[in-house]
Structure formats: C-alpha cells, structure tokens
C-alpha cells in the first residue's frame, strides 16, 4: 500500500501519541489480567494459572456485596444526577438567550477545583454540627442534630451526584441545543400542548445526551475511592476501597487485580443494560 504525502504526514503526527497511550493502557491492563490469575503469599508471587482469586471474589459475601453495592450506588448516582441536571440543561438551552456560554462556564468551574477538597467539604456539610443540621435546627424543623447524615451510602450518593453535575449538564445541553426548533413549532401548530410536545419531541431527541451523560457518570463512579473513604463509613464502602486494601495492607495484589477486573466486567454489563433500557424508552416515546 502506498500512501500519499498527506496520509504519511498524518501517520507521523498521530503515531507518537497513540503509542504513548496504548503503551500506558494496554500493557498495564494486560499485566493486571495476568496478575488476576496468579497467587501471592506475602512477597512471593506464584505465576501458575488459577481461578482461585475469581472464585474468592464471587463466593466471599464481603467482596460480592462490595461489587454489587458499588454498581447500585453508581446507578443511583447516575439517575439522581441526570434527574437533577436535566431541568438546568433545559433551562440553559431553551430559556437563556444571551450568555449561554457564561452559564455553561459557571456550571463547570466547581468541577475544576480539587475533587478531594470538595468531597471533604461535603463531610463538613453533613456533619453533626454541619450546614444541614445547623440550618434545620435554626429553622426549627428538628430539635436535636441528626447523626445519620454521614457515613452511609446515601451520603456517598449525594456527594457524587454533586461531583458529576457538569458531566450530566453538558451532554444533555448539547443534545437539547441541537433540536431543530421548527419541530417544536410544528408540534404546536398541530395542536400539541407543551407537555405532549415535550414528551414526544424534546425528550426523545435528548435521549442521546442522556445516554452520553449516563455513561460518563456511571463507569467512573463504580471505581470511586475518595468519596466512600471520606463520607461512606463502613456501610458506604465501595469496591475501590477494598482494591486499595489488597494493594496496600493486605498485600494480595492478585486478589486486588481480580476484584478490579470483576468490577469492570460488572460495570460493562450494567452499562450495556442501561443503554439498552434508554434506547427502548427512546423508541417507545417516538
């Protein structure tokens, strides 16, 4: 195959970056897969193929619970974030005439500040003498501070729904912005009320944005470490915390690798179900 000058130069420009990323992703992931079939006894790694780690991951209730809880929490976070963010994206796309860019910028600023510090700040918000309790006490809604706000999976869900907000708003905004406004006028001319035209035109056409937002939130959330560690307590611990233990204190890397890969497989399966479900909704609305 002979390539013209344009193609050769393109290859030359693209190859270093592609190789860099490929080397730093494919090789490490390959090693992780290999590790997950080995065993470790303190410092000695035995390189004989075995399913032991995977058997342990799926038979030990502790690991099973952690993986399923991580997937459940990530699903809840995705749902909550999309539900809360959709109206905001809708507002920016349809109600804001000038300054759309300013609104979008405003939404993204918090995301660029330290994630660690934002999560830590949620610990202060939900604490016994934190913002929520102080406000409720001041309003007279409660007499004694609520202890149960922190250290459970609900605290993890709220904190993550906050952290992922811009990732929901931006893709949904883009899909709403792309909708041809003449469709909406046509629906109006044909006698559709605002609600029906929302359900039959706007919502179905924004489903690609919702799918994009869901994927970008769901997949990384399953592997989140900082939030469960800071606000989750033992009831809100997730699989990443256990992976870290296996690579740290427990010093059982093969088991940690098997845990990580099992989580990835579960996430992929769950993500496929999520996309399929949303596509079905899209079809039934159209």
């Amino acid at each position: 195959m002979t390539l013209d000058k344009n193609a050769r130069l393109g290859l030359l420009l693209a190859t270093p970056t592609t190789l860099y990323v490929l080397l730093l992703i494919a090789a490490p992931v390959g090693m992780t897969i290999a590790y997950s079939f080995w065993t470790q006894d303190f410092v000695d790694v035995t390189r004989d193929f075995t399913w032991t780690n995977y058997r342990e991951v799926f038979s030990d209730p502790l690991y099973r619970t952690l993986i399923f809880r991580s997937v459940r929490i990530a699903a809840m976070v995705t749902l909550l974030t999309v539900l809360l963010a959709y109206p905001v994206a809708y507002h920016i796309a349809f109600n804001v005439r000038k300054n759309k860019a300013m609104w979008l910028f405003l939404v993204t600023i918090p995301f660029w500040t330290s994630y660690l510090l934002r999560v830590f700040s949620w610990k202060l918000i939900l604490a016994q003498n934190g913002v929520v309790n102080s406000t409720l006490l001041w309003l007279g809604v409660i007499d004694t501070p609520i202890d149960a706000l922190l250290y459970n999976s609900e605290a993890v869900i709220v904190t993550l729904a906050h952290a992922w907000a811009p990732f929901a708003i931006l893709p949904i905004f883009v899909s709403l912005e792309k909708i041809d406004r003449s469709f909406l006028e046509a629906a109006k001319d044909l006698g559709e009320g605002p609600v029906r035209s929302f359900l039959r035109v706007t919502l179905p056409l924004s489903i690609p944005g919702i799918i994009g937002a869901s994927m970008i939130i769901f997949i990384p959330t399953v592997g989140d470490y900082v939030t469960p560690a800071l606000v989750g307590g033992s009831d809100g611990a997730m699989v990443a915390n256990m992976i870290q233990v296996q690579f740290g204190k427990a010093n059982n890397w093969p088991l940690g690798a098997a845990l990580a890969l099992s989580a990835v497989v579960c996430v992929t399966a769950a993500a496929c179900c999520l996309v399929l479900g949303l596509k079905l909704i899209e079809r039934s609305l159209k």
Binding site: T17, S134, G193, G256
Partner: protein
C-alpha cells in the same frame, strides 16, 4: 392529562429559580472551605466563633507542605507540557490529515477519559514495579499526562478544526515553506488553544489524587499530603486554609484558560 399539564407548566415557570438554586448547590462546598478557614475555632462547624487568619499563618511552618507543593508544581508543569505536545500533534493529524486508522487512533487517545481511575492506578503500579521503574514523581508524570491527553485532544481538534486551511495555503503561495507556514501562520492562530491546554492539564494534574496516591512513592504530591493530614483533627483547620488557597488558584487558572479558549475562537472566526 390536563392536571399533569397544569402541574408541568407551573414547574416550567419555576425553572429559572430552580436553575439558580442548583448553581448554589454546586458552589456550596467550595464556598464553605474559605468560610471555615477564617473561623477562630478548631471545630469545623457552626456556630462560627470569630475571625482569624492564624490558620493561614500556620501554613508557613509546615515544611512537608512546601516539599509536597514543589513536587506537585514539578509534576503538573511537566505533565502539562507532555500532554499538550502529544495532544497537539495528534489533533493536527486528526483534523487535517486522512490517514489509515484515523478513527481508531482517536478512540485510543480518548480512552483514559472513560476508564475508572482506580483501574489505571493499579495497572500502572503493577507495570512500573514490574519493570523496575519503582514509584517516583516520574511515574506520576507518566500517569498524569496519560490522564490529561484526552482534554488536550478535544481542545486542539476543535482549534485546528476551526482553522481555515486557506490561510496556510496562501502563506505557501506567498513563498513560505510548509514548515514556515505552520510556524508563522498556523501556530500563532491556534496558540490560545495551546495555552488553554497547558492551563487545563496543569489544573487537572495539580488536583489529581488517586493516581498520585498509588504512584508517588516517598515523594507525595500536594493532594496526597492533604490526604495524610485529613485524618488528624488538630491539623484540619490548616488543611482547610490550604484548601481554600488551592481552590482560589484553580479558579484563577481556569478563568485564564477560558479567556485564551475564547480568544482562540475569536481569532479563528475572524480569520474566516
């Protein structure tokens, strides 16, 4: 249906108020840290007791903090330069060249964006220790540049995409070599995009925790240092003061990046 319609149209009218409230919700955590950082109490909670700047003054005595800061600055600067260079190269190829496996290469370089960071972290740890690299600031740089390449690619493909090829052709017609046209016409026009990449990558690397936590070994970056302090209640007020400063720095960098990004858009649209 009519009642649903009535409820929904009322909801529609509340939309602007909801949007403003939601923005408030987004900013609550990052406004809270500065508030507590000036509070004259070791307890991080309400009621506030009085104004003080002693937590900021106390930062000056912590030598571990300054070495972590130095590590973070070094890592962030080098990662930003690496990621921006590699990102710019491939973005040029993606937007201006037809070459084999173009889509595949684009998918590959965007992949780090959708991988759970913990997976990247443990995989890199296994390999770096396996090949004897150990865990140093160098390994953190490799990881951070990997993480920020997708951001640079999305900024630069849009910058190159908006750039009018006719400008470069005109320069060549007027006697520039193609390298000269690239250097004297294209690069100045996309320069704001490049600066925006540098600032964004710097910010992401400077704040990144998980990869650094696994890969920094004995030389902690600032977020890893903060993590080690968060467990000690006595140190928390200092951590909050430090955190407030970091948030301020991040926002300043981001505002600068946004200005350059807009300028790059204005340049390219004017050029057309």
């Amino acid at each position: 249906m009519n009642r649903v319609a009535a409820v929904l149209s009322r909801v529609g009218r509340l939309l602007p108020a909801y949007a403003v409230l939601y923005i408030g919700f987004l900013y609550l955590p990052i406004l809270l840290l500065p508030l507590f950082s000036f509070n004259d109490s070791k307890v991080l909670g309400f009621p506030l007791t009085g104004f003080t700047t002693k937590w900021y003054a106390g930062l000056a005595e912590q030598t571990a903090l300054f070495s972590a800061l130095k590590n973070s600055l070094f890592v962030a600067v080098v990662s930003a330069v690496v990621a921006t260079s590699l990102g710019t190269l491939i973005s040029r190829a993606i937007s201006k060249h037809r070459y084999p496996l173009r889509r595949t290469s684009q998918t590959i370089v965007m992949a780090p964006l959708v991988m759970p960071e913990i997976i990247i972290a443990i995989s890199l740890l296994i390999v770096f220790l396996g090949i004897g690299l150990g865990t140093t600031l160098f390994t953190v740089i490799l990881a951070h540049s990997l993480l920020t390449i997708p951001f640079c690619v999305s900024i630069m493909t849009s910058a190159f995409g908006q750039f009018d090829d006719a400008l470069e052709e005109a320069a060549v017609d007027l006697g520039e070599t193609s390298w000269g046209a690239l250097r004297r016409v294209t690069l100045p026009v996309v320069a704001p995009g490049i600066i925006s990449c540098l600032l964004i990558s710097f910010t992401v690397s400077f704040d990144e925790f998980i990869l650094a936590f696994f890969l920094s070994g004995n030389s902690p970056t600032l977020p890893v240092y903060i993590w080690s302090q968060v467990r000690f209640p006595a140190k928390l007020p200092n951590v909050i003061a430090l955190g407030s400063l970091l948030i301020l720095v991040s926002i300043l960098f981001l505002l600068a990046a946004e200005r350059f990004r807009r300028r790059s858009e204005r340049f390219t649209t004017q050029a057309e």
